[in-house]
Symmetry: C2
Subunit: 176 residues, 2 copies
Amino acid sequence: MWRSSRASLARRYTERVELDRLDRHIITALVDDARATYAEIGHRVGLSASAVKRRVDRLREVGAITGFSARVAPRALGWTTEAYVELFCQGKTKPSDIALAVSRFPEVVAAATITGEADALLHIRATDVRHVERVIERLAAEAFVVRTKSSIVLSRLIDELPGAVPDPRNESPAGG
Amino acid sequence: MWRSSRASLARRYTERVELDRLDRHIITALVDDARATYAEIGHRVGLSASAVKRRVDRLREVGAITGFSARVAPRALGWTTEAYVELFCQGKTKPSDIALAVSRFPEVVAAATITGEADALLHIRATDVRHVERVIERLAAEAFVVRTKSSIVLSRLIDELPGAVPDPRNESPAGG
DNA sequence: TATGAAAGAACCTGGCC
DNA sequence: GGCCAGGTTCTTTCATA
């Protein structure tokens, strides 16, 4: 509406979007607290509440912001144990086969096909080590799975925060 | 205030909390859409808006809900590539050493010490494969790092959704 | 201890400049 | 992008089971 009309439906979700400093600042504020009021965000980034709302609406429209989620503490809900499981699959296994199979497991909270010896890496959450064991057994029982290799998480150092996406122009380490 | 005084500061964030079906239902609704109105959530779970608010306030107080975040599309922000990097460290390396070092990398979006051959597993996001390479170089240059082993993500099958925490009583697969 | 109803305050939203 | 007005939502209080 108030920007180049090239930022249209066709660009949603897939293509890269041009964001200015203000957009990134607003995203940071919303990752911090998705229930902050527009006025609060505006105060933080130096904009009026309605200007913030217009930008947020646009950021959602172009797919930069995909939604808003409550952050939960898995431990508080009884999920005290996590593990990473590598899947070694039969030669003709398609990524969609793996996706279909593992998506039936509520314990699998993330999954990706990867380069290297293994074909896929799964992140699983469970109530205890016994539960991890049962999940691995069931994964290993899938037709296309040849073998698995798993690592239990000893201590979580950095939490996967879905929005911790800094400006690509700032490379690591932050200090230089 | 309005519950057993045992549900006090001491219980926050660490201990397990007792949650009933309604609590879990509310959490699910908020993970789905953290900006839903209390009335909407109430309609979904069968409560009035004010009852929902009271329970949400309590869920935050006991640490079951730790906050609210915008979900962002890393690709839309220019982070098109991700990788998992295993860290093999010197014998005397402490988890806190690793945490301190990797937390200086904005590209490291998750990290944990693990069982198995490697000492730690990092999840990193980068703008392209060259960027991944540079980050690995810098990680390998850390004093305590003996060697690294990395896997580039080919395709993401299941997204790490911070609140996708089902009821531990429902084991996988969902169907039985 | 937990609930629904109600009312004033705060916030969202869209039109206008 | 800011300002403003009307509609919605939040938040607290109160009565009830």
